[in-house]
Symmetry: C2
Subunit: 175 residues, 2 copies
């Protein structure tokens, strides 16, 4: 339900059509979801079915395809209030598919593993730098950026630990 919470939260601020919603999310909330354009449209149709949103105007400017402008309904507002509280109170467990490789580290030579993880560290550092230089956001959106920053630093620290461990082992092997 996180995705619908997201859409409802944005529609509460102002009526929008699918493209606008997707655009805003991609630009400002990419740390929270990787919602694709077509998924956004799908969810909007779904929520319309549930009566959470209503399609208001379908003006066709020029020869463009008509834009469906979504408005949140009272039922939608109620769902929003509920979903928001649930979301804030719960600790959602995160999974890290990117780390599966770590489980198979012993399948490759120590020195190659170290080289590969150093590449990973560089890429991670690049991400951290990008977030560090990101322009500040308005209001509570800033929390998302802060969280990402915090998370990336934590990941870097952990990777450093793993690398140290492996480097120690490499030394041990050679002597």
């Amino acid at each position: 339900m996180e995705r619908e919470l997201l859409l409802l939260g944005l529609l509460r601020r102002s009526d929008m059509h699918g493209y606008q919603l997707h655009e805003f999310i991609e630009r400002n909330m990419s740390t929270c979801t990787d919602l694709k354009k077509s998924a956004a449209y799908y969810l909007l149709e779904q929520m319309e079915g549930r009566g959470w949103v209503r399609v208001s105007g379908e003006l066709a400017e020029g020869k463009r395809p008509p834009r469906r402008i979504y408005t949140i309904t009272e039922a939608g507002e109620a769902a929003y209030q509920q979903l928001l509280r649930e979301n804030l109170a719960q600790a959602h467990t995160s999974v890290f598919p990117g780390n599966v490789g770590l489980a198979f580290l012993s399948d490759i030579a120590l020195d190659e593993a170290i080289a590969l993880l150093r590449q990973r560290r560089a890429a991670l550092q690049a991400q951290a730098d990008a977030v560090a230089h990101a322009p500040p956001h308005a209001g509570s959106l800033q929390y998302l950026i802060d969280h990402q920053r915090h998370h990336l630093h934590s990941e870097l620290a952990w990777l450093e630990q793993v690398l140290n461990d492996l480097e120690q082992r490499l030394k041990g092997d050679l002597t």
Copy 2:
């Protein structure tokens, strides 16, 4: 491709059937993926199509349904080597759908937000305790547990920061 890397990595150690694979993953690698049983079967069929694995015996013990035992092929081994290296070298960006609510914090009263986030903190703490008391795992699997531990601590520290921030603001409002 992380899921297929995972399956290949396990099939390399020993031949298995779908149920076994899913069981092992659920028990030991839940921090890396939430692969459902049916998804596992789907991926295995797919990988069979690509020639990465081969179905070997289909013994039917008693009146049980026949078990399809999967074996990794040479093509599968090649894919594994490639996927493992890619996985280790890349820094996979993680998204946190559980945090969308934070973006809408300003939609509810400060004191209620604080109460809700304290609930979240308690739940998070419970998760951290569970990982802390988890029995140690063999070999590189331990890295996954360590990472989860590290991550949960980082999340707790961040949440503490947010709570402090909000509590400060609450004080400011009252005076």
